[in-house]
């Protein structure tokens, strides 16, 4: 289906408890095929926004159009083409890198054979390719709990790619890695965007946003206060916005 924006959010409101609004009328458009960095101080509502977009939380009010499809209420993860990588990655520690990657294909695998951990040859091949693409050839059979932080990060990307996504949502994606590893991973992510996948990545680090973001969005107290390119505002301006 043809669509103009990867994601359109209009006047989105969300509250966890019904009294304190965490999202207070968010307006946002995410461009197709670009890497958009979502900045904001801790508690500004970035994680909540991603979960609402993914359909894990149901907004009280507002309109959401994901990949050109308007989405009312708690849409069943018909959003198979929207991959979500939570802040702590959500890898299954007792499964291997390959098994974790294969879970990305669950949505399009036979619901019964997959319960026996049987995947088609092509699917397994695709998972191996994904891992290879991310430089994890030798780690297929390693359990997730034995992997380093950077390796785990890459397994999470591989799992997302197995969904054959058109939009990837990633929360605080490289915030817990050392800077060199973080840049390395961001380079890989940029490659993914160059292949036409749209990405929305939250961070609280301006350096990462300025360096890798094609676009930058700044959130403050549950609202979007800036949408544009990172270099239009510059780091000084961004700091001012975040304050």
């Amino acid at each position: 289906m043809e669509y103009r924006w990867a994601l359109e959010v209009q006047d989105l409101w969300f509250s966890y408890n019904g009294t304190a609004d965490v999202l207070r009328g968010v307006n946002l458009r995410v461009e197709k095929g670009l890497l958009t960095m979502l900045l904001g101080r801790s508690g500004s509502g970035k994680t909540t926004l991603l979960k609402v977009v993914k359909g894990l939380l149901k907004p009280q009010k507002g309109a959401l159009t994901v990949l050109g499809v308007p989405f009312a209420g708690e849409r069943k993860s018909a959003s198979r083409e929207v991959a979500y990588i939570p802040q702590n990655l959500g890898l299954v520690r007792n499964l291997t890198a390959l098994e974790n990657t294969l879970t990305g294909a669950l949505g399009r695998s036979g619901p019964f054979l997959s319960l026996l951990k049987v995947f088609s040859k092509e699917t397994v091949e695709e998972a191996r390719e994904c891992l290879a693409l991310l430089g994890l050839e030798g780690k297929h059979q390693e359990k997730a709990y034995n992997l380093s932080g950077g390796e785990r990060q890459r397994v999470a990307i591989a799992r997302a790619l197995m969904q054959r996504p058109r939009l990837i949502l990633a929360d605080e994606f490289v915030s817990q890695l050392d800077p060199v590893m973080g840049f390395e991973i961001m380079e890989m992510v940029r490659e993914i965007a160059r292949k036409g996948v749209s990405l929305l990545i939250t961070t609280h680090e301006m350096g990462i946003a300025a360096r890798y973001g094609d676009r930058a969005v700044v959130m403050k107290e549950g609202m979007v206060v800036y949408e544009g390119t990172p270099y239009e505002v510059g780091e000084e301006g961004m700091l001012e916005l975040l304050r």
Partner: protein, 262 residues
């Protein structure tokens, strides 16, 4: 003195008063009665010794039956508690499903295995089948609760991540909830088996098989030396099973760090 202190003292006083009244009512504050009881206990302990090894072959067979009751009961209980725990986990199903299942588990759990055994003696007649079913029912209630709590203890991010790929609930179970809670499941199964070995030893009291039948008989026939033999055998088996399951636990459960980052 503040009001709060006053109330606290009043509560202490009430508890102490209730304790004295209850003890006196049971005759536990009568020194003469206590002296007599101690004397009787002394002669009872004297009558226990020495244990009588000639009954060992009979008892060993009965003890074997007790272990079987515990084993079959735990296994059956596990098979039924597992799907029920799945349906009772609030991170997998809504309250309309989890509510009734939890209620059912709660009821099953309230009734001790000995009482279940009585019910099954009525239904199946005397013998270990009734004992095993009694143990199984109690296990369903208890293990069911331990298991749904283990399921709910799984890192919510892992559940969200696997939910997000658009899989079914069964896939969520197989790919996220089970591998993440596997250690707890194995560990609680072994715990349940140890517990059930103990409760199976008294199944014979109600005719539901195992060594309890002989214990009760020796007690009623005042054959205290035989009784001691049965008790010692039970103790040895319970300790052996605890030891073995401890070893097994160490063998199957690797030391997995809770969460690894960078």
């Amino acid at each position: 003195m503040t009001k709060r202190q006053l109330v606290t003292r009043l509560v202490y006083l009430l508890v102490a008063g209730a304790a004295v009244v209850s003890l006196a009512g049971m005759g536990l504050l009568d020194p003469v009665e206590i002296a007599r009881a101690v004397a009787r206990l002394g002669s009872f302990v004297g009558d226990l010794f020495p244990p009588n090894p000639t009954v060992l072959p009979t008892l060993a067979r009965a003890m074997g039956e007790t272990v079987q009751i515990a084993f079959v009961g735990t296994l059956l209980g596990f098979l039924f508690s597992f799907p029920l725990a799945f349906l009772a986990a609030q991170n997998l199903f809504g309250i309309t499903v989890t509510g009734p299942v939890r209620f059912l588990l709660g009821i099953v759990r309230t009734i001790p295995s000995l009482l279940w055994a009585v019910v099954f003696v009525v239904a199946f007649g005397l013998g270990p089948a009734a004992g095993a079913l009694g143990v199984a029912f109690y296990t369903v209630g208890y293990l069911g609760k331990l298991y749904y709590e283990a399921f709910e203890g799984v890192d919510p991010e892992v559940v969200e991540a696997v939910k997000s790929v658009g899989g079914t609930r069964l896939q969520l179970l197989v790919y996220a909830v089970l591998p993440e809670s596997a250690n707890a499941l194995v560990s609680q199964f072994l715990f349940m088996f140890e517990y059930n070995i103990r409760s199976s030893t008294i199944m014979g009291f109600v005719g539901a098989g195992g060594i309890g039948f002989y214990m009760l008989g020796y007690l009623q026939l005042l054959q205290y030396r035989n009784l001691l033999t049965a008790l010692l055998l039970t103790l040895a088996v319970v300790m052996a099973v605890d030891y073995a399951s401890g070893k097994l636990r160490a063998l199957v459960l690797p030391a997995v760090p809770r969460r690894t980052r960078s």
